[in-house]
C-alpha cells in the first residue's frame, strides 16, 4: 500500500500560508475555496506570519512576554487588520484596496475564508508558530483543525497534486 493518490480518491491541494498579508490572503482563500468547489480535498497550513490572520479580530494582543507582545503590537493579529505587502502606507493602502475590492464585488478574505471553511477546506494552524509567538487555541477563530507540525504538513503535500507556498 502506498499513499499516492488513486483514481478513486479526490484530487488534493495543500497551501502553505506563510504570509499574513492582505493581498496574499486573497489568493489563499480564493484558490482553496475554488479547489473545494472543484471537489478537491484541500488543506491550508498556516505558519509564521500566516498564523496572525487566524487570530480573532477582537483579540488585540497575543504573546507571552514583552517581545512577543510587542511583535503582535506591531503586527496586529486578525484578518481584518491584515496589511498590504506593498504600498500599505500606514493602513491607507489596505483600506483603499478593500474599497476597490468591494466596488468590484470581490469578497473580503475573511468572508472567503468562511466560505472555504463551509466547503470543507481544512485549516491547520502550525503548532510550532503558536508556541513561538504565544498564540493560544482560544485566541484563534473557530472551526480550525488541530495544530500540527511540519511533518504532518509535508505528508499532506506529498499526497497532493498541487502544493503552493503563499
Amino acid at each position: 500500500m502506498t499513499d499516492t493518490p488513486m483514481n478513486t480518491e479526490p484530487e488534493s491541494m495543500t497551501i502553505i500560508a506563510f504570509s499574513g498579508d492582505l493581498d496574499k490572503l486573497w489568493p489563499t482563500t480564493i484558490l482553496s475555496s475554488t479547489a473545494a468547489a472543484n471537489g478537491m480535498d484541500v488543506t491550508v497550513f498556516f505558519t509564521f506570519w500566516g498564523l496572525f490572520p487566524l487570530v480573532k479580530d477582537d483579540v488585540r494582543i497575543t504573546g507571552y512576554d514583552a517581545m512577543t507582545k510587542m511583535l503582535a503590537g506591531m503586527n496586529a493579529p486578525g484578518m481584518k487588520k491584515a496589511k498590504l505587502s506593498k504600498l500599505n502606507m500606514g493602513g491607507m493602502g489596505s483600506w483603499m484596496m478593500r474599497k476597490v475590492a468591494k466596488k468590484n464585488n470581490l469578497m473580503p478574505p475573511e468572508e472567503l475564508f468562511g466560505m472555504a471553511q463551509d466547503m470543507g477546506v481544512n485549516m491547520w494552524p502550525c503548532q510550532m508558530t503558536m508556541d513561538l509567538l504565544g498564540i493560544e487555541n482560544d485566541q484563534m477563530v473557530d472551526g480550525l483543525g488541530d495544530p500540527v507540525g511540519a511533518a504532518t504538513a509535508l505528508k499532506k503535500m506529498s499526497n497532493s497534486n498541487i502544493s503552493l507556498f503563499i
Binding site: 480564493i30 475554488t34 468547489a37 471537489g39 468590484n104 464585488n105 470581490l106 466547503m119
Partner: protein
C-alpha cells in the same frame, strides 16, 4: 434552452463566487437534473466550463446576451 431544475443567479458576483455558488447548488441536485447559471463576471466565461470539466458534469449549452452569460449544466 430546456427548463432547468434550479437557477443560480451569480449576476454581479466576482471570482470566485460564481463557481462557489454553482458548486453549492450542484450538491442539491440529483444526477440527471440541470441547473442554469447566470453570471456577469468575465472570468466565468472560462471558469464555469473549467469547473464542469473538473467535476465531471456536463455543459449542455451556453449563451451570452448582453452582459449576461448563461450556462446550462447537467449533474452526472
Amino acid at each position: 434552452m430546456e427548463n432547468p431544475t434550479t437557477t443560480v443567479d451569480a449576476k454581479g458576483q466576482s471570482c470566485p463566487m460564481p463557481v462557489l455558488m454553482t458548486a453549492k447548488a450542484a450538491k442539491e441536485l440529483q444526477p440527471g437534473e440541470t441547473m442554469l447559471i447566470e453570471a456577469t463576471d468575465n472570468g466565468a466565461r472560462s471558469d464555469i466550463p473549467a469547473w464542469v470539466d473538473q467535476t465531471g458534469n456536463e455543459l449542455v449549452e451556453s449563451s451570452e446576451e448582453g452582459d449576461v452569460m448563461r450556462f446550462l449544466v447537467r449533474k452526472k
